[in-house]
């Protein structure tokens, strides 16, 4: 921390927002709407943070768009559902604040930006069969965004290395069968859109939020890392010490500073210290290194949910990089489509592969106290030629050469040797799995039971859209790594998004939203866009509260 003495401020605003992801930009919009003068500082040279490389979906229960897809919802249902997933590890008052405020946030964003959300009627919650769960509608698609609207800021919008080249809304991806019929996607249309400057997913969400901000005369300060929070003699946060072009930049925040700086998944030390499992392959941009979290800790912030992440099994194509670091691609469909399974070194399955990415990852961390090892790491996705004849895998689409980053073998035994897996175990597992596939029922792990599983399956595959035999050589394998979209432990906040100390009292002038904040859903992942939905909602709450707070004398 840094106490202000006699130095002069370089910039004087009411609210400083640290970070330009969905939480930060929503906070800035909300603070501006409440008549605050706002500065957004971003350490990267691009706008958007982790949100920009994400699917861009926003999970908000009881949103008004659900009616258009014929799905009813209520606060009580949402509270029941989120409460169960939070597993008693989140503050009930925060869950309630999120559920009650989320729809208001959506309306605010739509009135403040070009974004027009569309409810994804067929994108189920991640546990749709739980009480209060829904078969769709809570996940909102930002659609497409024309980056030409950003003018000179067009090239400052962060692009996803995975989604950044295919301008296809989530609604379209669902309608077009992006998982089950990848070769039939309209690549000609996507090429045309690419040339036009259209973006989708997180690019569309951030593009729309940025456009709203620019229209209000607020330009994010890029390449401006914040080094410290500045407090006054009473311990109130009154500004930040940042750097810009190698020079110190002191920004006064008369009403508050909002941390929206992302998680700590790229900080190996914090990962080792706090997380419940080895997070080796984060999916976010490398800037998510916990700098904001450490600033809050330095002021005595209480912490919560620190052992949790938005887990996601991840795959890696050797040599692929993003911003100079290895690119880790989250796997959402390979493990859910027919003709695939996941095994450990014993050649055994250990989880419903098609289950939601956050919860299924936890099975990877199973610990054997006798051998003192994680029995399910390393793990491999095994597929056969039937899979490659029909479905996509990372950059591969049927009709393309078989990628050299897949381990290939003419027999299962040969494949097992190639990847260091017990051959007898793999043969037995695949034999049993194939019987399940023919019957269409997986009594071991219940793969293909849930509506969620089916969403990522092949609806034309019978008798079960998630189960297909693995029997046609060649066989292929790719290692699946522990990854995460981001961490979700951080500074604890109250229902006004104020960061609190261990005694529960707020640290005056300090707010948090997004992955730097202790996650409101605890260990759970309620549905697609829950990361961003909670982030934007608490960003909205923080922006409004900070703007309305009294200026210190």
């Amino acid at each position: 921390m840094w106490f202000r003495k006699s130095k002069q401020w370089h910039v004087d605003v009411d609210v400083v927002v640290i970070g330009s992801g969905a939480a930060g930009l929503t906070a800035a919009l909300a603070a501006h709407a409440a008549r605050a003068r706002v500065a957004v500082v971003e350490k990267a040279d691009r706008v958007g943070g982790t949100s920009a490389v994400s699917g861009g979906v926003v999970w908000i229960p009881n949103n008004r768009h659900m009616a258009k897809v014929g799905i009813a919802d209520s606060v009580d249902e949402a509270l029941t559902y989120v409460g169960r997933l939070a597993d008693g590890r989140s503050d009930a008052a925060l869950i309630q604040r999120f559920v009650e405020t989320g729809p208001e946030m959506v309306d605010f964003v739509e009135s403040s930006t070009p974004i027009a959300f569309q409810a994804l009627g067929r994108y189920p919650d991640y546990h749709p069969e739980f009480a209060g769960g829904k078969p769709g509608g809570r996940s909102l698609d930002p659609g497409l965004f024309d980056t030409n609207q950003l003018g000179a800021w067009k090239d400052k919008l962060r692009r996803s290395p995975v989604f950044g080249m295919t301008a296809m809304s989530v609604t379209e991806a669902t309608d077009w069968g992006v998982f089950a019929k990848p070769a039939a996607l309209p690549f000609g249309l996507l090429a045309k859109r690419f040339k036009q400057g259209l973006v989708c997913y997180g690019g569309a969400l951030i593009g729309g939020l940025l456009k709203g901000l620019l229209d209000k005369g607020i330009e994010p300060m890029l390449s401006t890392p914040v080094r410290e929070l500045i407090i006054d003699d009473d311990g109130r946060v009154i500004g930040v010490r940042a750097e810009q072009a190698g020079k110190e930049l002191l920004i006064q925040a008369r009403r508050g500073v909002i941390l929206a700086s992302g998680g700590f998944e790229w900080n190996p030390e914090l990962v080792r210290r706090f997380l419940g499992g080895p997070l080796t392959h984060p999916n976010s941009p490398p800037g998510a290194d916990g700098d904001g979290l450490k600033m809050a800790m330095a002021l005595g912030a209480d912490l919560g949910n620190m052992n949790e992440a938005w887990w996601c099994p991840s795959l890696q194509i050797p040599g692929e990089e993003y911003e100079g670091r290895p690119l880790h691609r989250g796997d959402f469909a390979t493990r859910s489509l027919p003709h695939s399974l996941i095994v450990n070194r014993r050649g055994q399955r250990f989880v419903n592969e098609a289950h939601n990415y956050n919860d299924m990852m936890k099975a990877f961390f199973a610990f054997d106290p006798v051998s003192y090892e994680r029995t399910n790491l390393p793990a491999w996705i095994v597929i056969d030629q039937q899979y490659l004849d029909r479905y996509a895998l990372l950059t591969y689409v049927p009709g393309m050469p078989v990628p050299d980053w897949l381990v290939k073998a003419d027999s299962l035994d040969e494949l097992a040797r190639a990847i260091g897996v017990d051959g007898k175990g793999l043969a037995a597992t695949v034999g049993r799995f194939n019987r399940f596939a023919v019957e269409g029922v997986d009594p071991d792990f219940r793969r293909g039971e849930s509506l969620y599983d089916h969403f990522y399956g092949d609806p034309e595959h019978q008798p079960n859209p998630n189960l297909g035999t693995v029997e046609k050589p060649p066989f292929y394998a790719i290692q699946v790594h522990p990854g995460a979209i981001g961490t979700k432990g951080g500074a604890r906040v109250n229902a006004s998004a104020q960061v609190v100390r261990v005694d529960g009292e707020p640290i005056a002038g300090l707010y948090a939203a997004g992955n730097v904040m202790a996650g409101v859903t605890g260990p759970g992942y309620p549905g697609a866009g829950a990361t961003i939905g909670t982030a934007m909602t608490f960003g909205y709450i923080a922006g409004r509260h900070a703007a309305a707070s009294a200026r210190p004398g």
Binding site: R159, V397, P401, D404
Partner: protein, 203 residues
């Protein structure tokens, strides 16, 4: 098929340029993205390059095959993707520029040398996939002298992605080709001008 052509003029003879081009080691320090290569025979080689594809960077394996080599005049080649469904090729043409003849190029005596062509491609492919970091090679503004020797270097490059994703990949390849071609030609020119004309131009 996305195709670009870029030409630049150097105040040097073709012989000087080819003397430089024929040894791939001359070019290596200029280029990034190169990972490894394997010479298969007199006309074919396989290259592993780390190139920028849109937003991310990835490894590309290409088989290069020289289809035509005319010493001091032209080299033509084809490219075949081994791990990506991409094909293409290119031609580099050198011409004498004779100011007295209105800039019309003079014909060169053909002399086929596949080995030199392969060396040229060694350099060529590495230049093609090298990332442009926004700063073009600095060319020396050598004063034009009446009757002075000049050569024109013209590089034509084609690349086309096939398969179902071809249209999308081509949309990304297209804008990347011209900078690659420009970079290729200008790097040659900048280096040779610095070596052969540096002291004159500075004076």
């Amino acid at each position: 098929m996305p195709e670009v052509e870029y030409a630049t003029t150097l105040p040097l003879s073709r012989a000087l340029i080819w003397d430089f081009v024929k040894d791939m080691n001359n070019w290596a320090p200029f280029l990034t993205g190169y990972q490894k290569h394997e010479i298969l025979d007199e006309t074919d080689s396989v290259w592993t390059l780390k190139g920028d594809v849109g937003i991310l960077s990835r490894m590309v394996n290409l088989r290069a095959h020289i289809t035509e080599w005319v010493d001091n005049e032209r080299v033509a080649f084809t490219l075949t993707g081994l791990n990506e469904k991409v094909d293409g090729g290119g031609v580099l043409v050198m011409e004498d520029v004779q100011p007295d003849a209105g800039g019309a190029p003079a014909p060169a005596a053909p002399a086929r040398r596949p080995w030199f062509g392969r060396r040229f491609l060694d350099w060529l492919f590495r230049a093609m996939f090298r990332r442009m970091h926004g700063e073009a090679p600095k060319r020396l503004a050598a004063p034009a002298t009446a009757g002075a020797v000049q050569s024109r270097l013209t590089f034509t490059l084609q690349m086309e992605a096939g398969g179902p994703t071809g249209p999308l990949v081509n949309a990304m390849l297209g804008p990347a080709l011209l900078p690659a071609a420009e970079d290729l030609a200008n790097k040659i020119a900048a280096h040779l001008e610095r070596v052969h004309l540096g002291s004159e131009a500075a004076a």
